[in-house]
Symmetry: C5
Subunit: 268 residues, 5 copies
Amino acid sequence: MFLPYDQGLEHGPRDFFRNPAAADPSYIVRLAVEGGFNGVAMQVGNAEKFYAEHAGQVPLILKLNGRTELPSADAPLSPLNASVGDAVRLGADAVGYTLYVGSARQAEDFAQFRTVRADAEAHGMPIVVWAYPRGSAVQAAGGQDSFYAVDYAARTAAELGADVVKVNFPDPTATTGVPEPYDLEVSTPQAVASVVASAGRALVVFSGGAKASDKAVLTRTREAMDAGATGVIYGRNIWQRDHDESLRFAAQLRDILARYPTVREDPS
Amino acid sequence: MFLPYDQGLEHGPRDFFRNPAAADPSYIVRLAVEGGFNGVAMQVGNAEKFYAEHAGQVPLILKLNGRTELPSADAPLSPLNASVGDAVRLGADAVGYTLYVGSARQAEDFAQFRTVRADAEAHGMPIVVWAYPRGSAVQAAGGQDSFYAVDYAARTAAELGADVVKVNFPDPTATTGVPEPYDLEVSTPQAVASVVASAGRALVVFSGGAKASDKAVLTRTREAMDAGATGVIYGRNIWQRDHDESLRFAAQLRDILARYPTVREDPS
Amino acid sequence: MFLPYDQGLEHGPRDFFRNPAAADPSYIVRLAVEGGFNGVAMQVGNAEKFYAEHAGQVPLILKLNGRTELPSADAPLSPLNASVGDAVRLGADAVGYTLYVGSARQAEDFAQFRTVRADAEAHGMPIVVWAYPRGSAVQAAGGQDSFYAVDYAARTAAELGADVVKVNFPDPTATTGVPEPYDLEVSTPQAVASVVASAGRALVVFSGGAKASDKAVLTRTREAMDAGATGVIYGRNIWQRDHDESLRFAAQLRDILARYPTVREDPS
Amino acid sequence: MFLPYDQGLEHGPRDFFRNPAAADPSYIVRLAVEGGFNGVAMQVGNAEKFYAEHAGQVPLILKLNGRTELPSADAPLSPLNASVGDAVRLGADAVGYTLYVGSARQAEDFAQFRTVRADAEAHGMPIVVWAYPRGSAVQAAGGQDSFYAVDYAARTAAELGADVVKVNFPDPTATTGVPEPYDLEVSTPQAVASVVASAGRALVVFSGGAKASDKAVLTRTREAMDAGATGVIYGRNIWQRDHDESLRFAAQLRDILARYPTVREDPS
Amino acid sequence: MFLPYDQGLEHGPRDFFRNPAAADPSYIVRLAVEGGFNGVAMQVGNAEKFYAEHAGQVPLILKLNGRTELPSADAPLSPLNASVGDAVRLGADAVGYTLYVGSARQAEDFAQFRTVRADAEAHGMPIVVWAYPRGSAVQAAGGQDSFYAVDYAARTAAELGADVVKVNFPDPTATTGVPEPYDLEVSTPQAVASVVASAGRALVVFSGGAKASDKAVLTRTREAMDAGATGVIYGRNIWQRDHDESLRFAAQLRDILARYPTVREDPS
């Protein structure tokens, strides 16, 4: 159960208006500690200034790249703003990388990821890949949440060397423009299971996206875990409510996750 | 209280016609000494030829990148023209970097900034980021001075590792095209306070822009400091008048700033 | 006889729906061992997580670059996602590289290949080049399978330093838009022989493409070998059927190949 | 008084038809020696093959970058074709660099110049910057010889670290499209003096451009020197006439320059 | 008298259909030995696999860059596919480089050439430059064989540091769109002599282009040598005929060249 906190860069401070305390990275790190999260993900600027005082209390996933929502997303690329060396220096337990599968700038992205993978392997640092289908080609093929797109993104991250893959929940009803056999609608659990299988031995965690009702989030979490997910990585659904509510909801999620074995059986 | 002197490159010598003496970098460095400024910011060419004789009398912020106003600003990028190594060699106390948040070339900018941050950290050199929203996406979302744009720019600089963030005063009336909740007008002090909060532990200094009336500048300065700003960085409002007037106005600003504590309380 | 397994990246998991077991890289490596293949080609992510337990049982061709089918293929470039150093570390016997002959980004491709060739030579590692005509210029000149395009691609790979060239079967009936003398139709065996000659001392293996009938594949295999091919590299025609069928068909192919001498006579 | 000889590359051999002997770099170096020039500027190919035999007789300014007039000049960039290391090896006393102020590729230009400046400083080699306003933005703002453009170019070169700035004579009548206060016509001597002031402690030499009448060139030279110029750098006005005429005219120029003090007083 | 063999890459195997034996690089190297050529030029792939067995029998010019004719030639760039280090390792006596003078990608080309020149000088390796005017600007200015274009290309190569310049025969009748004074038609010998003069101390060899009648080729050879050329570099005119015919024609060429002094007098 991870707590991602890169929305200040990716979406801007507008994500903090529901709960202004969440604009303070120190508040988030404390929340991660109190909520018993297995890791908190943040950019280098925040990690440098706010993580040290809580080091050892919650693992850090240093997010190595990022972008703002301002420039056009027709051909997005998320440039590196930190290095594996920074992660080592800051005591991180893993690094995070956003890979825009399908973007017209995918070639640059793969090349950039290669340097991260090589550095991470040299330092024994696991890589969590935000495997996000994006760009105009993806829009034309079912959109970024289609089963086709999410399945392909999970596979791509695994083929390139991810240790953990973070994906959105696949939407098997998005079949317009997708290639065979994805044009045949399957159930959500089938789609989730296929995504988990496509990632091979890379662990799969599902992200939450915009804030939804508690019930919807809990249901989706159970579905994902039933289908073989390793865990979840929810940000706005956690910290876009007040402090005690955040902790209460985190506890509910933890209860669900505790019902599943820590290590998946190898499918082979 | 900083004195910026990069306008000769950014705008050209036209900024010096109101007070031709200001075209001479030596005059500006002396003014910074006499006016009791906490730093003077300039490009490498000027720093190399004019700072040495006043080294130790006023701190130097070596501005590492810059551009001219001539090429189209649809997708601006401010290329490096100096290095952290130059800053060390010239005895600078900090480096300055212009980050164009929202530019279509933002990915290149982030990548370039990363090299600066890494070098600066290796040399223990603080980084002042000119956090400027720019480019066609910004023009479509309230313009470069909108609360949305300035708030996002301050946050972006902090997430990427700035120690000091230089922004324009936010204009909360610029709500056309901005996303929720920025489309709801707030007061200027609220907007300034939000910008300061978005920057986390990075210090925030507000810039002055084009020359305005003394009264307007002093009022804005008080507003900024009340809302939690660390200081101000005014250039044209200082040196686009004759020598003694510059010193008199600097003294007024210094008086205002002296009423506020040097170190902000940590908001967390 | 090689078993290529880069389709998960190049086409996405849709290639695994005919035989879901094939989504598991471990299954494929075991199939390569059991089927007596001379090598299995895969990307770094799969090689790292699935090859080690079978190392020594079947040679590994580490595929160093790849792309997804999502971004437009008007000007494709297959970026590196692994290095020759990775190949050495993983115990590979050769490296694989996709060269898009004719792409508008060909200049970048050649430059990238140069670094691979230099590294491979420094480590004594043979290079298998997927020599694929691609891009709008190729579409206008008979298409990617025309005799003209395949012949030119094989030659290009050899001139640039390939040790083994992987090409599609040339289609001598695709004569629209091709330059002299390719506008004169020749027989398939003549075309295959010409491609083999164009590659000089680089060995030529033919790929299978989408799944076809067993009879068609076996006929084509005989034609290729009669015309001087070194071998074949079939993926979907092997693993898009159930396990025992895969082994049965691999045995048939091995029988054909066994009838030809291992080392070609030097044509000079 | 410098003799520039980069026109064979910048304009092509057509500049040599008025005096075919001038196509021979050896002729030009001898002319520089006989005419008592303070330096001859040339590209690396010519310097390597023709300068050595006259080394010590006239200083060499190795021009480090250049382009041909063939590709479109909408967004020009003058790529490096030699290094500061070449200049050291060839016994040059300075390096030359063309900076296209205002070009859409200005960012690349600044980045490239930065490497030159860093290398030149490391070797104690002065830098002469050909500060040339160029590109479509410049065309829209008074053109490349407007007072605005030349003044801005001189300032830009100085801010980036030039030791000597080479500019064209400013034309104060070109006021269409320029920003305030350049839209007010001033006298040529005022414009020249402003350009010299904008360059700070960088020395300013004025170039001659296409061949003009002797009288016009001599008048302009006196105007420039009266306004504070350090010297002149004339090429075609020298060598686009026969040998003895070249020497006679160079002597006239030398006489003018001799009337001015070698070292300018510091304006500060 | 050089034998170039880069057509397999530049034009594709279609150049080998007139004499299929010529597709075999081994055949070409033997032809160069038997025909008494002063050098054979080829790409790294062919040099690595076919030159070693004849090393010492004929000098090797390792061609370091190349492209296929497939991608659009509007803005061509010939990327490096080998290094000077490869040339040293393979026992080459010189390196070859194609420079596309006038291409919109000329800046990249110059930058790339600079690295080759620096490496070549460090290893004492002479550089033969294929100085080819190309791109849309060249098409608009008389075309790639106009006297203007060829003269400018020869000069450019020399200014950038070529030791030997390979150009096409200039066509002085191509005067449409060329600048003064090239719009005045001169004789072919005058044009050839001008090209030789423009190249300074760089040696000039003329290429043959597509196969022409023996008589035309011999006449052009005499004209070139009369005008000061150093030699010729003919490929298709040699090997697009059968073996004995090739040797007979090479002997005729050698007889012509033998009538001229080996070392040109220095024009200065």
